[in-house]
Symmetry: C2
Amino acid sequence: MAAQIVPLPRKQPEASIEPMLAITASGMNQVNQVILDRMQSEIPLIPALAGHLISGGGKRLRPMLTLAGAQLVGYNGTRHYKLAAAVEFIHTATLLHDDVVDGSDLRRGKAAANIIFGNPATVLVGDFLFSRAFELMVEDGSLKVLKILSGASAIIAEGEVDQLTAQRKIETSEERYLQIIRAKTAALFAAASRISAVVAECSEDEERALDEYGRNLGVAFQLVDDALDYDADAAQMGKDRGDDFREGKMTLPVILAYARGDEEERIFWRAAIMGHRSSDEDLAHAVTLIAKHGAVEETRERARHFAARAINALACFPDGKARQAMEQAARFAVARGY
Amino acid sequence: MAAQIVPLPRKQPEASIEPMLAITASGMNQVNQVILDRMQSEIPLIPALAGHLISGGGKRLRPMLTLAGAQLVGYNGTRHYKLAAAVEFIHTATLLHDDVVDGSDLRRGKAAANIIFGNPATVLVGDFLFSRAFELMVEDGSLKVLKILSGASAIIAEGEVDQLTAQRKIETSEERYLQIIRAKTAALFAAASRISAVVAECSEDEERALDEYGRNLGVAFQLVDDALDYDADAAQMGKDRGDDFREGKMTLPVILAYARGDEEERIFWRAAIMGHRSSDEDLAHAVTLIAKHGAVEETRERARHFAARAINALACFPDGKARQAMEQAARFAVARGY
């Protein structure tokens, strides 16, 4: 009897960030070294304040995208370490400014920088890190990378202003919301991912594919972040639960629950988004209404759609560890908090 | 009898900004057009807020330095218009953030942007303009210019943080104060001036000379700005008179008056800088003490020294309209408010 050959099935895709962490671990050590070196200054308050946030247990997802992308396209150089650090500095600068803008109390489960160091220092250290990011890019010397990241930075700022304009406006549409998160979050995910193809001198098509991967991943990531703020079942996140609610931010769970609510519910939402119903009981009521209409699950469903598009964008690259890790990370972005 | 030839004496140097305004007038029209074009955004709040400050009657001294420098070295191209606009955007971004940091009420004699539009929008539009500045530089495509201006931006932010650290500290020394204003003000004057030599592909020596002109002019300019905040004879400036005093900023007039004051005066200064004596009467008393010790005049004297160094830095360039205009501008920086 002939031996039967059973083909090894391709492993069932998992939702996990672990493979991405694994393939980028040694590279991230290099990136972290650049981050620590380049946040230094003769003005002691600068590394103190920057370090509070930078050492505060962030996931460093964005620089990780640059490193994973570089592996995907087989880049063997070292230029991407500095550029990944620049990406993280831009992100850190926007977080510092966000905390001032939102008047946040907590960030990543710790007191926000503005609470400890005050708004003035927080704004200025954000500016410093932003400038440092550009210095790192200039040292690398690619005008193409500079164009991508300066463009992304302008779009992020526009998205943040747009979000501010939509705040406390119950009539904000899903389209408007998507436009805001594409700008404020997805633009930097896209740029972080894209620049790996630039340093590796890939084709325009590959550059665009990595851009699309990052952009769709960023949208999925933000959707789930916004869902978790109202998810009764989710573990407490680093960000202060209910922040979006109290700030009157129009995120998709609220948009969906408002759209499906009856008149009594809509009266509640209008008052809540205006800031007239912001107690813990009001937040609990909001969570109940959102659960009643399945708005968290539907927000996750939207995220699933964007994660699928992110995964699809990788189709032009050869299968392998890097691509599988990036696919699993996209699934993880959707499954977080489950 | 032979006709006597009387040599025409070189015109007595005047302190005036008029010649600088005259030689840069047509170029500044181009720069202003770039500024107006590039502060636009689909998010209406951005041009509204940016325009409030940008149309608010600023002198646009920094981009003017780029244009004057370009004339000095005989540059005939057009690249400097975009770069001068980038310089003004960086400056505008820092002013917006300064207004948030200082909690200013007035800027250039009008309500400050943060008062009209709130701190959040003011921070974010500053970020937008800063990103736009880098986009303009990237479009120009000179890595050397990008290096100069990203470096200057990081130094400005460091200087601002350093100033924050020195605030309400009566023991701040004259050296520390000079270090702060070199960073927060003079670095951008130096960069604005230097990049004109870069676009014109001048020698390193000429680049350095223009850097020194701008740097010393910037120090002189800031010294006189700080003196005017306590000058009993000066016309009311755009900035709210007495702001430095109420914010406990350690500027040279205060440092000098404190150093020369008797024990009673020092007790007053310590209380005032700590913020315990900040009424209009206290400000009037501070102005009297500063006048008593000639601290405004001595601050101007220091400014005269830096203006002389600025003028001296131009010695390597041929005499002519541009150089004379730049010399007169340096004298004007000292004589302002007389």
